[in-house]
């Protein structure tokens, strides 16, 4: 009996062992043969392709836009473990992501959602803090690329911004999105029981490729001075806004382009669409007197007048087509003086001498009414009606900058053309694009757009424009010690439905430095300045500040004798 009991026990143990082994075998077969193992062990990881960087003209030393690897943290209220305290989790999250504790705590109540965005962090320590399984649960993360602009608001309107989807939404970011966008990489592999990737089982490894780097023609130092001067003038005169451009004359490169008010590209959603707009090329406005230089250039090119031709400005009021045109200059004055003193009547009469067709042709030759094709989105073409559609009054108003609408970019290009012996260069803002492998994909070269006037005519107008900033000229405040400045003031009434505003103006100054051998041109336009509203009073001083800083920065030697030099020369 005793032996039989032992035998029974042996059989029972053997049967149990057999069953256990059979169970393990079945499980093994299920895992290996049922294709189940592949699904659970499959590991796929998308590698982030960083967006290309944007630099100014100084090269790699000064990035204006960079992409940073970050983590987007989210909350899954249902995944919070019972043993964890919600308050404690909320406190840690709030501390790590810089949020209010109550705000985070409120998100725990949204139990209908399993993906509630908490915030983005660049800091690895925050990641360590929020991924501690002992104290935190329900907080997940996903890798993300975060666009950063190290200089904050600098060049905001040129750079634009990148939206939440990682797509450029304005400016260079939008225009060159396909070059800047990186290509994501991929890892396909298997994981072990601890969900760690088994390297030897890696099947696919496609490395991520960063986007191409963009080098701008803009210089952040000049841009800084321009933005500073623009902000100051807009705030001082309580204006609606303003824009300024600095262009290198020989090549057409844009050295600075600013609009005010500006915005922070990283927090672009805090501002409205109006603020995002690059006013320097997207606002179309009647230029006013700054158009007179183009009118005079056209008349000189057609040999209708010379700088010394005398034209009667009358008694300060001239009626044509039933409409009076007022002027602060009276009597017979030369074309040169008319430009210096900004005579409306003389320029209107020159326009009449030219005739509608020729006037329109010259304006089109200077690229008014057409886009200049700068590599930025939102460029306007301006408004220039065909001459056949002009009424009787228009040939006297277009020459003084009324009845025609332009962009700031068109205006500075026209003046750069006059300063460049009549050769119009295409304005451009991107100097080169370099692939991640270091290969130059694109390199900008100076491009001639046209030659609207002869070189001798351009030189003559250039000389005449120097008078504007001299004693007796309307733009004396634009003068810079040591440098000869050629330029023109412009004060234009703002067009409103049914006519012109009596209170709102555009105050502008556009000119080039040094006038003897121009290197760069500057345009400053201010919208609705108060209480003063003239270009000579409002914009000319801002021009002088920008011109002085840029000339100094570009190391342009003064072309005028300094006060002391004159004294030395006159000293016996």
């Amino acid at each position: 009996m005793h032996e039989r009991g032992i035998q029974m026990r042996i059989v029972a143990v053997a049967a149990a062992l057999f069953l256990a082994l059979a169970g393990l075998g079945a499980r093994l077969a299920f895992l290996h043969l049922a294709n189940h193992s592949k699904v659970t062990r499959e590991y796929k990881c998308k590698l982030l392709g960083l967006r290309g960087r944007i630099f100014d003209c100084n090269g790699d030393r000064f990035p204006m836009a960079v992409s940073l690897p970050a983590r987007q943290f989210f909350l899954d209220p249902k995944a919070v473990k019972k043993e964890h305290d919600k308050r404690q989790i909320a406190r840690t999250v709030a501390e790590g992501l810089g949020l209010a504790e109550s705000e985070v705590l409120a998100k725990f109540d949204q139990e209908d959602s399993r993906y509630i965005k908490l915030g983005v962090s660049l800091n690895d320590k925050v990641f360590d803090m929020l991924s501690d399984p002992k104290h935190i649960s329900g907080v997940g993360f996903e890798d993300q690329v975060c666009r950063s602009y190290p200089q904050g608001r600098r060049m905001a309107h040129v750079l634009g911004f990148v939206n939440d989807m990682g797509v450029g939404g304005a400016g260079i970011e939008q225009q060159f999105n396909r070059y800047l966008t990186g290509t994501p990489g991929l890892i396909e592999s298997e994981v072990d029981a601890g969900r760690r990737e088994i390297w030897s089982r890696r099947k696919v490894y496609v490395p991520a490729i960063a986007g191409s780097d963009l080098y701008l023609t803009l210089d952040h130092n000049i841009q800084y001075e321009v933005e500073l001067a623009l902000k100051e003038v807009v705030e001082k005169f309580e204006a609606n806004g303003g824009w300024a451009i600095v262009q290198r004359i020989k090549t057409g490169e844009i050295l600075a382009m600013a609009s005010y008010p500006d915005f922070e590209p990283e927090h672009y959603t805090l501002e409205t669409l109006d603020v995002w707009r690059n006013s320097a090329l997207a606002i179309v406005y009647e230029p006013g007197s700054i158009m007179k230089a183009v009118t005079v250039a056209a008349a000189l090119n057609e040999r209708i007048v010379t700088p010394d031709t005398l034209i009667d400005a009358g008694e300060g009021c001239w009626t044509y087509a039933g409409k009076p045109l007022r002027d602060h200059v009276t009597g017979h004055i030369s074309v040169s003086t008319a430009l210096k003193k900004s005579s409306n009547i003389v320029c209107a009469k020159i326009g009449l001498m030219l005739g509608s067709k020729r006037m329109e042709a010259y304006l089109r030759a200077f690229n008014f009414g057409e886009k200049l094709g700068i590599e930025l989105p939102g460029e306007e073409r301006g408004i220039l009606a065909r001459a056949k559609d002009w009424d009787k009054l228009k040939p006297t108003r277009v020459p003084i900058g009324q009845g025609v609408a332009v962009t700031g970019l068109q205006m500075i290009s026209a003046y750069s053309t006059l300063a460049n012996n009549g050769v119009m260069m295409k304005p451009h803002i991107v100097s080169r694009i370099v692939s991640p492998s270091g290969e130059t994909i694109f390199e900008a070269k100076p491009e001639i757009v046209g030659r609207p006037v002869r070189p001798d005519v351009a030189r003559a107008v250039r000389d005449m424009l120097v008078g504007v900033t001299e004693e007796g000229g309307t733009g004396k405040r634009a003068s810079v010690p040591g440098y000869s400045i050629g330029g023109k003031t412009g004060t234009a009434q703002k067009a409103v439905p049914g006519g012109y505003s009596q209170t709102d103006y555009y105050a502008s100054f556009v000119g080039f430095v040094p006038a003897s051998e121009p290197v760069f041109s500057v345009l400053v336009s201010v919208e609705r300045p108060r209480p003063q509203h003239t270009g000579g009073f409002v914009s000319a001083p801002a021009f002088a500040k920008i011109a002085a800083a840029t000339a100094r920065y570009l190391e342009i030697p003064p072309d005028l004798p300094l006060e002391d030099e004159e004294q030395v020369a006159n000293h016996p």
Binding site: G152, I198, S200, P557
Partner: protein
Amino acid sequence: MRRNHKRQVRAKVLPPSVAGIMVLSVSMVLCYWFMDSKCGQLGQEIRKHEQKFSALENERVREEARWNEKKTPEKLEQALLQHGVAMAYPTAEQVVRMDAATGSPAPGQLSVVRFQRNRNAGERVAKTGQK
């Protein structure tokens, strides 16, 4: 010395070729097992290094961005002001321009400086006299 012949057993031994194959198979299995575990170990190390490299690269990019934020023109100006360093560009008469070809001051440049220096000295004398 007496031998115990009765106890001598003539055992059947494996043929040397079979034994060789068996030893070879076992050693191959052991070798494979060793190499597999070594590969696995190396794989884990590579993976760790990959992660470390990626983390360091990300950190470098972030540090670079932090540094770039600190060297903007306004931040530099602020930093200088904080340390009581008021810097300004030299005025035109404070600059002596050199002629690149000759390596000497451009015409008229030194005379301006000399004139300026004499004038400043004169002003100083006048001020001292006033006292």
